[in-house]
Assembly symmetry: C2
Homo-oligomer: 406 residues x 2
């Protein structure tokens, strides 16, 4: 069960974006497991991808295609990650692009492939290809919910965010979806996320906006510390709602778009944590007073990845010593613990490196019993800060991952 | 339940070492939770300690005392870690040393304190001190099993190793104990381990032997990646079995002692993994073909810490894609996956970065169903190698750590 509010908002259609889906039986029957995005001509597309050295075949191909063209189509399957599949995996991912290009009368390099699911098994390319024409036949603007549902794996809920905003009297939409619940510690991107707007933005700025937004959203979440082989995040600006193209950061409209995109991507990233495998708590870890951003992140991830902290939070046990231990082994050089303060919600649990004198077990337990928990750490050695989002470690995480392939 | 053979061997008495224990009710009633070691005059003692910045009060004091003296006594309590306890924690640890020194007529700096248990609560020093005289009264040479039992926390079994060896016609004993089951990813030492020999070794060499042995034993195990605040490992050479002192590595006897110590400490370290919290499998991760030792360790720990790999092994599921993913995000620079081979036991699962063509799910499942599993990775980029030991992640790990304080 996802934590907190994960309801889908009204998913505003984005002018210039159409979505189709089909049942291709990649792994399971009777579910839409193949999704296609179509972008209107002239759409500017940017992507960020996993830094896992074992990155999947479709990641290799999407990166290569993005370098030479502005893609017109995305083809996404769930059920099989097409990772660890060697040369045959590359051939299969290319075959999916080639067949879709042929059916849609575009070039093969104008199609980007994406896969998610089990690693190490060959993609059933014949079944996937059979689903392409039905998916194309179903293309329409109002299908974002279908897309969000079609790319799910162990997700328990589809994930979407959508806003409308105005620039110089023109109304634009920004709509996106994401998926992912386990193998989540994105590095440059999440499992899979697609965001589109019909605002007109130059290609360079599309990439820059994406990089900036990813760094404060998908690059700040972790479920289990496992960086996936398939993480991909795509941002597309179709320009189909009109207006002159935004070509510079000094354009006043740039800041508005950046705000909206950051909000949409933070929501999409946090939805992944709220639906983290086995999650019962949504945990915000805010570290301040750091010498630099990196050490704030190191401390935040050290806490976020500690199985002992995660199980204590699952048990609503204010076992704050485990938080101190995780801070202590984060690898921050010359860390002086006597300057460290730690809060659980509004309750100070650690003062100057020791137990806060007015701390009571009851106050700690009250904070820990909430489903949304904030751990705040002040390192007392500078002015840098950063925030990471994670979830707890429950019996169900083990159950889901011990059972996933069956 | 511990994995494999964890039986205590015959624990040979070490001449010059006496052990006492008592019920001090540090946390639980009706258990011996206080252990004292007495070393004969002239014993050479070396220690290695946690690198956690939040290291516990007794770690601070043990390190300080070791720098200025050869300790005569160790005082160890379980039930309370005396970590995250600020100035009061230091005062309490010193009080334990002072009281024992008074009762035993030695200097305070000749006593090293050790604590293990819950972090962040003050040590009940009055109860602890009350137990010192009964513990002293019980001192005897044949009490290694009592000591191993007395220092347990969530351990399900006492852990010991013991050998006898001969140097120049003299028979010596090497006997040690360890404890720890969770918060285990030692960095310089394990939770707590004490090894003693009655061989005569100079103090410099005692420290060097300890450093070398720790690096291939306690520094190569992980249960959950959580480096404790209290890790301490002590090696004492009493010299009480006679013979001339070993003062140089070129002494032929040095190599014999090093062999014995390494074997004893590897056994003590691996016992901690066999008794890892919730462990159902003992996992050896051997990485070879690395450019240097560090990258072999990085890959091995990346696999060893992946919750997805650990849960797959718990489920006996040969989901080897998760192993590839963990190799891929280990951070090895310019890793060329096409040179990577991976074996599960004798079964090659990954050849040149893709699925091994003759791999079958049945062969993988057969290996995974064993209780002792070896994952072997060849990075194909050099001649370095290293090995790390870990266990799986089960429901019981979550249960133990969600319930620990209750």
């Amino acid at each position: 069960m996802a934590v907190g509010d994960v309801t889908m908002p009204q998913m505003h259609a984005v002018k210039g974006v159409k979505i189709g889906s089909a049942e291709a039986y990649v792994r399971y029957q009777n579910r839409r497991d193949l999704v296609i995005f179509e972008f209107s001509e002239g759409t500017h597309v940017a992507g960020v991808f996993t830094q896992n050295a074992f990155c999947a075949a479709p990641v290799h191909i999407s990166k290569a295609h993005l370098e030479v063209t502005n893609p017109r189509y995305l083809v996404i399957n769930t059920g099989n990650a097409n990772a660890g599949t060697g040369k045959m995996g590359m051939i299969n991912a290319q075959a999916a692009c080639a067949k879709l290009a042929e059916l849609a009368s575009v070039q093969e390099v104008e199609v980007l492939p994406f896969s998610t699911g089990v690693i190490g098994e060959q993609l059933p390319i014949d079944r996937l290809v059979t689903g392409l024409q039905p998916a194309l036949d179903s293309l329409k603007a109002e299908a974002w919910l279908d897309a969000a549902t079609g790319i799910m794996t162990t997700d328990t809920t589809p994930k979407g965010a959508s806003e409308q905003f105005e620039l110089d009297g023109v109304t634009y939409s920004m709509t996106g979806i994401s998926k992912g619940a386990g193998m989540i510690r994105p590095n440059m991107a999440t499992m899979l996320s697609y965001v589109a707007t019909d605002a007109p933005i130059s290609r360079d700025l599309v990439q820059q906006l994406l990089n900036n937004a990813v760094n404060v959203s998908f690059n700040r979440i972790t479920v289990d510390g496992d960086t996936s082989t398939n993480d991909s995040c795509i941002f597309a600006a179709t320009g189909q709602a009109g207006g002159s193209e935004i070509t510079s950061q000094t354009d006043a409209r740039y800041a508005v778009v950046e705000d909206v995109l950051t909000r949409v991507m933070k929501r999409l990233a946090q939805l992944i944590i709220r639906d983290g495998e086995g999650a019962t708590k949504f945990i915000t870890i805010a570290v301040e007073g750091g010498g630099n951003t990196q050490e704030c992140c190191d401390v935040a991830y050290s806490i976020a990845h500690s199985p002992l902290v995660k199980t204590a939070i699952f048990a609503s046990d204010p076992n704050w010593g485990r938080i101190l231990a995780a801070i202590g082994y984060a690898g921050v050089p010359n860390l002086d613990v006597e300057h460290i303060q730690v809060w659980l919600g509004d309750v100070q649990i650690c003062k100057d490196g020791g137990a806060a004198t007015d701390y009571t077990e009851e106050a700690g337990a009250r904070e820990m019993s909430k489903s949304e928990i904030t751990i705040r750490v002040d390192l007392g050695r500078g002015h840098a800060q950063d925030t990471v989002y994670t979830c707890d470690l429950s019996y169900d995480y083990v159950k889901i991952n011990a059972d996933y392939r069956s």
